[in-house]
């Protein structure tokens, strides 16, 4: 008669496992270790990957950054060693005359001591002077108020947008920072917005000013130190072509050789992203290789131990046969024992592996540890369940064949073993 749970059989199995503590322990450890290591490896891999991804996703994926440099090649009668400076016109060329670019912004650098005062507090923060579209490039998230707009740029308005951590430090007791005035390097600016950012902490300790206002107030003329532009293209070839066109039009405008790589520094994070993807592809491949290795070691371990167990129990099998055990009941006993053992220890491996990963994530969260290279480790349950499945199947196969062999040799032979 079929019974859903053969209580007697399980009693036999538990009994047998209890009586053979060492081999039970060894089997359990080899399975546990395989699963545990796989989870730790994949978790560590994903932690590394997620942290790198965070850095990329913080800014627009395909952004060009341009800085002026010094020419290194003679061009049209001009000697090398000429500094290339950008002006407001260069930004206008990017914004109005260049095809394929989505968002553009200039940055005018504020050198020296950026002392910011509010009431009795005076602190130093990073200042960035930008165009309205900079918010889209940097993926700045407005929490309150607004970001810089075109009217600010055109009318040279003395307004500023503060990071939420600036607010926390500079005006912790201010219930509504919007409309307050802060003193930036001696000039009063009105707060019009508060922002946050998904990137690292430093991104939220910044103050944004309209670029034109900054140029005027801090006597920058029409200098622009850095140009930024994003493209919505996700094609490498197209991106490289666009980069080349950008270089050529800037070369024409500023009279330098387009082949002169030091005249301007033109950099695109999409190329980095590609490199990153290749690198993480390789890292993942390596982690999988090691992970599968540890699973394989587990499989071999289980197979070995099952072989020994069956050999060890040949006499017992003979005795059981003499008492009326069918080959089927013997095979079933050994295989069930093996599945039970590998299943349980694999499950503990899953729990402890996930436990450690989760604990790590929890601790990092709780103590606000920000590691640049490690972020939100996670492991796909599907992967782990497949690994567990493989180990259990290995246990079945490893148990089945020797058990079948042992069950078919004659009882006398088995008993004399």
């Amino acid at each position: 008669m079929f019974k859903a749970i053969d209580f007697d059989k399980w009693q036999e199995i538990i009994e047998s496992l209890k009586r053979h503590k060492l081999r039970t322990f060894l089997t359990a450890v080899s399975v546990w270790w395989g699963i545990f290591m796989l989870i730790i490896l994949l978790g560590a891999g994903s932690g590394l990957e997620n942290s790198a991804k965070r850095d990329f996703e913080d800014d627009s994926m395909n952004t060009f950054f341009v800085y002026g440099g010094t020419t290194s090649k003679p061009h049209k009668g001009l000697k090398p060693g000429r500094r290339i400076y950008f002006t407001y016109e260069d930004w206008e060329m990017l914004e109005y005359d260049t095809e394929g670019l989505d968002y553009t912004s200039g940055r005018f650098y504020m050198w020296g001591d950026n002392l910011i005062k509010y009431k009795d507090k005076a602190l130093s923060f990073d200042l960035r002077t930008v165009h309205p579209e900079h918010a889209a490039i940097e993926k700045t998230i407005i929490k309150e108020g607004r970001f810089i707009n075109n009217e600010d740029i055109n009318s040279f308005r003395k307004i500023c947008v503060l990071g939420d951590l600036v607010i926390k430090e500079l005006m912790p007791y201010e219930s509504n920072p919007i409309g307050q005035y802060v003193n930036i390097k001696g000039v009063e600016f009105m707060v019009v917005g508060v922002f946050t950012d998904t990137g690292w902490e430093g991104e939220r300790k910044r103050i944004y000013l309209p670029i034109t206002t900054a140029q005027k107030v801090f006597s920058g003329g029409d200098r622009v130190h850095e140009l930024l532009a994003t493209s919505s293209s996700i094609d490498m070839e197209e991106t490289l072509l666009m980069k080349q066109r950008l270089r050529e039009s800037l070369a024409e405008k500023h009279n330098f050789d387009a082949e002169d790589m030091q005249a301007i520094y033109l950099w695109n994070n999409f190329e980095d992203f590609q490199d990153f993807q290749t690198f993480f592809g390789m890292l993942k491949g390596f982690l999988w290789f090691v992970g599968i290795g540890s699973i394989l070691a587990g499989v071999i371990g289980v197979s070995n131990i099952m072989l020994i167990i069956v050999k060890d129990r040949t006499r017992e099998i003979g005795i059981r046969k003499a008492l009326g055990a069918t080959p089927r009941s013997i095979i079933s006993m050994i295989v069930t024992e093996s599945v039970f053992l590998t299943g349980i220890s694999g499950y503990i491996g899953v729990l402890s592996g996930f436990g450690i990963i989760e604990l790590l994530a929890y601790m990092m969260n709780k103590f606000e540890v920000e590691l640049e290279f490690f972020y939100q480790p996670q492991v796909s349950p599907t992967v782990i369940l497949s690994a567990l499945f493989i180990l259990v199947v290995a246990g079945v196969v490893a148990g089945y064949f020797p058990a079948k062999k042992a069950a078919t040799i004659s009882a006398v032979e088995a008993m004399n073993n």
Binding site: H20, K321, A322, L323, G324, T326, S410, A411
Partner: protein, 225 residues
């Protein structure tokens, strides 16, 4: 109860073929206590194994309880071993990791008797061999005689048709051997058919009939009484 007709059995090791049973004829009636004697290599253990369905034979015919034992599958052989036969071995063959009680109960496990019932019945049989106080002891905590008593209780628990004993006193001293044979006699007097393989005359002398085996053939069948 047991009818053996012209049974032959040979073993092949490498290129050598060794014929162990060369056409054995014998018969055991219900309720008999029979001994099979012979020197080592005479084929007496092989014969017992064939009777116990622990080993196969090459040709001839074997009837157990009027059922012809031929071309049995492993499953059928297991069924007959479980229902018709009880074994007592020279080396006891108890499972070392099971208590005396569990060892006795084990054959009933293969009859799918539930645990409670099995253990209850095993207690009765342990009491029958005088070892109820030892039910929770493991084989390594017992003397040879005690272990053999447990093995006898295990052989009897399924109420088999025949008890087959292979040198049951071979590992025991003479006093203990005497006790075991006394127990065999008691069981026999209750109507059990028993076959004892031995090479000791004193043991054979305590059975009703001796079958002498020499070089794979039955030499004489001497009734003692």
């Amino acid at each position: 109860m047991i009818k053996i007709k012209n049974i032959r059995k040979s073993y092949t090791t490498g290129t050598n073929t060794l014929e162990v049973l060369k056409g054995v004829n014998m018969q055991v009636e219900q309720g008999e206590l029979v001994s099979i004697m012979g020197s080592s290599g005479s084929g007496k253990s092989t014969l017992l194994n064939v009777m116990g369905l622990l080993d196969t034979y090459d040709s001839g015919a074997y009837h157990l309880n009027d059922v012809k034992m031929e071309g049995l599958s492993e499953k059928e052989a297991a069924f007959y071993r479980n229902r018709f036969l009880g074994f007592v071995f020279q080396s006891f063959n108890l499972l070392p990791f099971k208590s005396a009680l569990e060892n006795v109960a084990l054959p009933l496990y293969y009859q799918k008797v539930n645990r409670k019932e099995r253990l209850k019945k095993a207690e009765q049989y342990l009491e029958r061999v005088g070892l109820l106080n030892w039910k929770d002891h493991f084989p390594n905590e017992m003397s040879g005689g005690q272990k053999q008593r447990v093995a006898i209780a295990r052989a009897l628990i399924t109420e088999p048709k025949v008890v087959l004993a292979d040198e049951p006193t071979g590992a025991l001293d003479s006093v203990t051997s005497e006790e075991i044979m006394g127990l065999f006699k008691e069981v026999h007097e209750e109507g059990m058919t028993m076959i004892v393989v031995t090479h000791e005359n004193e043991i054979a002398a305590r059975t009703q009939r001796v079958i002498r085996l020499t070089d794979g053939l039955v030499q004489t069948q001497v009734p003692i009484l």
